[in-house]
């Protein structure tokens, strides 16, 4: 009887070790998440399986039994809400990145480094993510009201469902400029193309992106290891390299 029991334990141990963590990642964080997952596997031997999408969709899926174990949200409200509703483990929530808002145009020289272009109003369309849905959109509206420009500029809004689409509106030239995430226009630590004004952080609430272990990740070593790794200096360097603060 002793031998089979031992074998069973061994199998269980290998299974636990090989069992990858299922992570739902906000779309805006997909590039750094991929790089971090590589380092994570190299350094810890655990694997992370990443799914990218809109935070709101993830919320609905998680509430309806999706097999995610960790959520890297695009905001701080959704993880808190999940925790309150008992779908996430209390005490595991923390801010893994703080987004920076940027006013960006695909045309060089169109956006000045003080954002005066907003006051001049010489454009037809200003793209932003839907403020009702996307934290970057809400931050953009906040910043414009702080600058007392909201009423003047609002008729020119074209709203994207998320900042990825807002970026497409601007990149294709259909909107001359728009509010996007700094992480979308940064390339190797610099502005990739066009012109941009990084909106001062004091004009809007910080765009906190929180992570949390979900109910399905309870007692999973890989899930705990993933969150721990996300806090490591190595991961943070990657996050900063993509234009987030932390």
């Amino acid at each position: 009887m002793k031998l089979p029991l031992l074998a069973l334990l061994l199998i269980a141990a290998t299974a636990a070790r090989a069992d990858p963590v299922q992570v739902a990642v906000a779309a805006n964080f997909s590039a750094p998440a991929r790089q971090i997952a590589q380092d994570f596997e190299k350094d810890t031997g655990h694997q992370a399986v990443l799914a990218f999408g809109a935070t709101g969709k993830f919320y609905a899926q998680i509430r309806n039994g999706a097999p995610f174990e960790v959520l890297l949200a695009a905001d701080d409200e959704t993880p808190a809400k999940l925790e309150k509703e008992g779908a996430a483990l209390a005490g595991t929530r923390f801010t893994y990145a703080v987004g920076r808002l940027v006013l960006w145009s695909a045309k060089a020289g169109f956006v000045d480094d003080k954002g005066e272009v907003l006051k001049r109003g010489e454009f037809r369309h200003l793209a932003l993510a839907n403020p009702r849905l996307a934290p970057y959109g809400a931050a953009a509206v906040e910043a414009m009201s702080a600058l007392k420009l909201l009423d003047a500029v609002q008729p020119k809004f074209v709203q994207a469902e998320n900042i990825a689409q807002a970026h497409q509106f601007v990149a294709s030239g259909n909107a001359e400029l728009g509010f996007v995430a700094l992480s979308q226009v940064m390339k190797d630590g610099k502005l990739g193309a066009g012109s941009a004004w990084v909106v001062p952080a004091n004009l809007h609430q910080p765009i906190r992106q929180d992570a949390v272990i979900l109910d399905k990740g309870r007692g999973k070593p890989a899930a705990e290891a993933w969150l721990k790794f996300l806090r490591s200096e190595k991961a943070r360097a990657v996050i900063r390299g993509y234009g987030y603060e932390i």
Partner: protein, 224 residues
């Protein structure tokens, strides 16, 4: 029951679906007619192009339309040269995108109807002095009536339900491009499920009534 924003979206949706359906019938009928009577090698490729929107995901189609109709795209340059300006983020742009997206839903039932009619009644019409155009309107169109009804239903319903492209081309501007499907999506994403349910239920009931009315009309037409 509905907020003013919802009502505006409903009105806009009806306007978009009506304009789109009318245009689709205008454009789709000659295409379907040609396809149904084509014998040449070109029939395959032409039919494939018309059917493309069935295969491409709406957001992908929307993305390419955004590029095409944008300031650097050929269509965008053409519309600017015409003095219309750029189409994205306008009602006109939504109509263009919807027409392209729903085209196969109108062309295919019409093509099937025309093919089912065949050459025979048209030959008979020709021996009775009807020119090809005359025969088309006096024989082919009335005989293809069930096909036109199906095409109208599908074109209208598909435009009402269309979402991915509208989101991409429309820019979600209230009263201009924010249609019901986008409004529902916003409610859902914002976790305002009550408002979403209301609109969605309204849309389901409305679609059911439209389809029912057309089917009834169709079967009564056949009996008379």
């Amino acid at each position: 029951m509905f907020s003013p924003a919802d009502l505006a979206a409903i009105w806009l949706t009806l306007k978009l679906a009506t304009v789109t359906t009318l245009l689709l019938l205008l454009i789709g009928t000659p295409i379907a007619w040609r396809l149904a009577r084509m014998r040449s090698w070109w029939k395959g490729p032409l039919a494939a192009v018309v059917a493309m929107p069935l295969v491409l995901p709406p957001t992908v189609l929307g993305f390419y339309l955004l590029l095409l109709m944008g300031p650097h795209g050929p269509v965008g340059r053409f519309t600017e040269w015409l003095g219309i300006g750029l189409l994205p983020f306008s009602f006109g742009g939504l109509v263009v995108a919807s027409v392209i997206y729903s085209l196969p839903f109108v062309v295919q039932p019409l093509q099937n109807a025309f093919e089912a009619i065949g050459e025979r009644p048209l030959e008979a019409a020709a021996t009775l002095r009807a020119s090809p155009l005359d025969a088309f309107f006096s024989v082919a169109v009335p005989l293809a009536r069930p096909g036109f009804l199906t095409a109208t239903i599908l074109g209208f319903a598909h435009t009402v339900g269309e979402f991915g492209i509208v989101l991409m081309i429309g820019g979600n501007i209230p009263d201009k491009t924010r249609v019901v499907s986008v409004q529902i999506y916003d409610h859902v994403e914002a976790m305002d499920y009550a408002a979403a349910h209301g609109l969605a239920a309204g849309m389901v009931v409305f679609s059911f009534l439209v389809l029912l009315a057309l089917y009834l009309l169709n079967s009564r037409g056949r009996r008379s």
